[in-house]
Subunit: 204 residues, 2 copies
Amino acid sequence: MTTPDSPPSKRDKELAARRYKILEAAVMCFLENGFHQTGVRDIASKAGVSLGNLYNHFSGKHDVLIEIARLERAELDPFIRQLEKPGPVLKIFDRFVSGYAKYLSAPENIILSIEISSEAIRKEDLGSLFSENRQALVEALQHLAQRGVVEGVFHLKTEPEEVAQMVLELIEGRAYHSVLMGAPMRRLIPGLKAFLCSALGVST
Amino acid sequence: MTTPDSPPSKRDKELAARRYKILEAAVMCFLENGFHQTGVRDIASKAGVSLGNLYNHFSGKHDVLIEIARLERAELDPFIRQLEKPGPVLKIFDRFVSGYAKYLSAPENIILSIEISSEAIRKEDLGSLFSENRQALVEALQHLAQRGVVEGVFHLKTEPEEVAQMVLELIEGRAYHSVLMGAPMRRLIPGLKAFLCSALGVST
DNA sequence: ATATAGTGAACGATCGTTCGTTCAAGAGGA
DNA sequence: TCCTCTTGAACGAACGATCGTTCACTATAT
């Protein structure tokens, strides 16, 4: 507690803004051309920053992707909070499915997560970051499922954690399908919900 | 009909074998390091073939991946035939889920399909090849589902095609999970089956 | 003799990263 | 207020490595 987090100076703010600008540019490049097809020069020039300067903010190309994965995690927080809110289980679940499906239906989000996850296979740090992100979501959903069982709304035949994982995988699978096949997500949501309700044994 | 498919000469066979050897080597490289991290030299040397000679057999790196995707399709045929066989729907479905899940649980298969699909996002020819492969499987599963409905074994709340897609997506999602998290697939299969049976409204 | 599988050096491009340099902005003393 | 002095963000040339591909050439089988 030597320096009590001195108020962010104007300089600090500018630096943070530059950093974010670079990350934004990187996301655009990765979306357009993929991670491996994007050069560090592409990122720098799209961000309006010199090549060398990029290395003042990030330790390398890999680091940029890590930071993007961190940003992605932040985007999941609203969904987690939503799942943890008190209220009728079925309503919360329904809203979550709609919301998360809609979020993923934006090609940017699903493509980016494919890009990250395919890189995560071989890069350990990215992999653990990626699975942490997911685990947070799984746990929140799992608690909701348990609550649903207690309240007699759900009738599961398996452990809630597995169910929660499968629910997420199904939503993501649909989103992936919609992007790759060019099928609008909103047309897939009714079928998805019906399928999920059956699977969770929603009492009629 | 000029040359009536003359019997494959010894030479032709040798050539086909070389081709296949190269494809095998490429698969190994792609699995180990990923498509974009693999150089054409890596493939050639792992296949025991000169760099230049590789280009006598394939028009380029992209072409190699295309051919691999074609091979992958052939591996799906047994599953499709199995789905089309007559017999009790439930038994066939159960065997299919086990078999397909087990097939995907080999990291090689799931990683390879991730590699291909992530490349398919931006390469149109690969994309259509990839979705054709999948469509064949979807249709076979869809027919089985319809048969199940007619026979009163399944009680679907949605169109069979969508259901078939979701079943596949779920199996693949589980396989992907098992590879990324290092969870053995055989431990996931019971829960997966229970989930699917609920979802399909299997009569008790 | 002809055709072609096979070879590996060579090509130009691009990769991720490093480096020496410039220069504007704050710190401290007068 | 003015003048150093220090700091580190910003820069782009340069580096060595590697990329996918081509090509002139040899070996071999018909």
